[in-house]
Symmetry: C2
Subunit: 405 residues, 2 copies
């Protein structure tokens, strides 16, 4: 075991204060990794965007375990997890890709692989981490073990006239990734059977300015939200020859949209009982889509412009946060009545929400209140508040086992 | 760290042979827990029914990590996992409830809590393990930490005339469990808000001899299969006041059923795109149910009497194993065409099948061939064969994060 393990132990002791066991110090003096053995299934990572650090938290004890520094610019940072749920891969806004050991509480590998990256995903077999980059626009593949580069896929459009930003990078079954090209208006399906020579199938002309994309929890349907027009683009991975089709075309029906204060996300959408909830761009509405017919069945009026819509794993509720000036509120939608049932005020500038894998807890980051708030999702009681430095994204290690991530 | 940790290290070295690192021995001599740190998300447990042992396996390396002995009668044994995916709870046929530390490879707690138990589940918040017992028939609750008893719920029918075997015990959202009473023909919904004084809501008269029950992956619908008549009993937990309704009533339509060689299971059923696949009792058929209308939409002819039907996490395939004389075959059903697409012969007496959480691997136990066979679920190539002593159930630690278990 290495000296860096000792270092992490010290920082863990500092965080835990006097609660740390005496044996920890004793073992550290022997030069032995001192972290007691533990399972990794209930760990989570909280991005502290202002300080370029992440907190590793125990969602059972609802306590901070360690803090990891040196991760660069973490505004808008996201994370995915290795197949064994031991390591997190953090995608920074500065193009940094950092591999973090959740047990040791330290960075074990880091590459600055682009000038500006937006997120990434792990292949279903756990061997490849793919990063989507704004600048230079494209997708890069790395080995999850060493972060050795595997392939570089520039997002060049036909004729090479433009290099597009990419958004909505997800993992799909069969060692594949799907991504949308913001400037080019395309969806790309990337087959990594040979990760050194990925095969790209391109779907051009899907609509103007796809701002985000996501895949249904079964890994079948990829959907890109369009910023440049009212509508969504849908690709059925079970039938990729059928091409991309437009759904919810013109959902604004010619109404003048409101100015958009914050780009919404499809990252936290929810699918429950055949219904999919997505934010209506520039509107105080949540769109409800029937995924059997891919038609709008309802629009739910909400308090502000929705940013994230996160459905509880059992599909019984959806939690929605909002752009300014409503970023201090979270609304809970009852999925049986498809109407808001509860307003919560976790703190100032709610940036992200993450359910525990079975849904009994909801973790909410309130950036400008400097805390993460943990709710009992059934009673709405606050179970814990954890101090955090400008927290943004919250990512549970159980994401390791879900498709798309 | 304890001397039992040292013991487990030795057994791990024996299993791994000369590949174990020299540092392991060095640390063991210092009296320090020597197991290198590792994530627990990719571990799995294989029940070796004849020897009363379980293998702990690494599904990434596809290797055996350790073997744990002293678990009693493991015929028909099942396992669930703690919230942190560190511990497994194994339910033995002899009523033994054993808590296993997957990292140390040892039993850390064990109670013989009944004469004959059939399985169990963990509450959504990870605090309670519930066991369903045949004899004496009922449900017992234990604290997941210490296995301290919390409550005993005898399966007494109205008037106390009968104590029923219970089957199909699952966990439901909101610290609840659901179970079916085989002899009594009832479904019970058990609310454990106060685990020392659980509240039981009873649904009598659901049909004759429910042989198993399961809950949909969203935790909303509980379904019991009936052995004494052709049909299934359905409880919607979003509307428990509506009671239990019968679905697929009389699916045999008066035909004479075949003799049943092995009780089928609902434990591995699958729900894909609104379709639910269940075995037709005593028939060479898989029933396909539309979960929007709860009607039979198709019956798929298969090679034998289905035992388990396991849908791949992406819903694209279902794998089916069979009772004698077809227990050496596994059939793969294409979920787009709802027809068998492939026959596989993993070995003699295929007892169980478990997909990796993202579905890229399928693990199959072939009891009488003494091996576990790992398939690439896309190409059907055999990735590994692991020697195992009469393997039966295979349980991935990622079950910790799924509802029902």
């Amino acid at each position: 075991m290495s000296s860096s393990d000792r270092g992490s132990t010290v920082s863990r002791r500092r965080l835990l204060g006097t609660g740390a066991k005496a044996t920890v110090l004793g073992l550290a003096l022997l030069g032995v990794a001192a972290a007691p053995p533990r399972g990794t299934g209930d760990l989570a990572l909280v991005v502290e965007r202002a300080s370029g650090t992440v907190q590793i938290v125990d969602t059972t004890a609802r306590q901070v375990v360690s803090r990891v520094a040196g991760l660069g610019d973490l505004s808008h940072a996201t994370a995915v997890f290795s197949r064994d749920a031991r390591h997190a891969f953090v995608f920074g806004r500065d193009g940094g890709l950092s591999k973090i050991d959740l047990l040791a509480g330290e960075v074990v590998a880091r590459v600055v692989q682009a000038g500006n990256s937006i997120g990434g995903a792990i292949s279903d077999d756990g061997t490849i981490v793919a990063v989507g980059n704004y600048a230079p626009g494209g997708v890069k593949l790395f080995a999850t073990g060493s972060l050795a580069p595997l392939a570089d896929i520039p997002a060049l459009t036909a004729g090479g006239a433009m290099r597009s930003k990419v958004v909505g990078l997800v993992s799909a079954p069969g060692r594949r990734f799907v991504v949308a090209l913001y400037d080019a208006g395309e969806i790309w399906l990337i087959d990594c059977a040979d990760p050194a020579a990925p095969l790209v199938r391109k779907y051009p002309g899907i609509g103007r300015l796809p701002y985000d994309g996501n895949i249904t929890s079964d890994g079948r349907f990829y959907i890109a939200g369009l910023f440049g027009e009212d509508g969504l683009a849908l690709l059925d991975l079970w039938n990729p020859d059928a091409g991309v089709r437009r759904i919810l075309d013109g959902y604004g029906r010619g109404e003048e949209p409101l100015p958009v204060y914050k780009m919404p996300h499809l990252a936290g959408w929810g699918r429950a009982g055949g219904l999919l909830l997505v934010p209506a761009v520039g509107r105080h509405e949540v769109l409800v889509i029937d995924t059997a017919q891919w038609r709008e069945v309802k629009r739910i009026p909400v308090r502000g412009q929705p940013v994230f819509i996160v459905v509880r794993p059992d599909g019984r509720q959806a939690w929605v946060n909002f752009a300014l000036p409503d970023s201090g509120t979270v609304q809970v939608i009852d999925m049986l009545t498809l109407a808001p049932m509860r307003d919560l005020q976790p703190g100032k500038a709610v940036l992200h929400m993450e359910f525990s894998p079975r849904g009994e807890q909801m973790w909410v980051s309130a950036r400008d209140s400097g805390k993460v708030v943990v709710y009992d999702s059934r009673t709405f009681a606050i179970l814990a508040e954890l101090p955090s430095q400008s927290p943004s994204g919250i990512f549970m290690a159980a994401r390791a086992h879900t498709m798309g991530r």
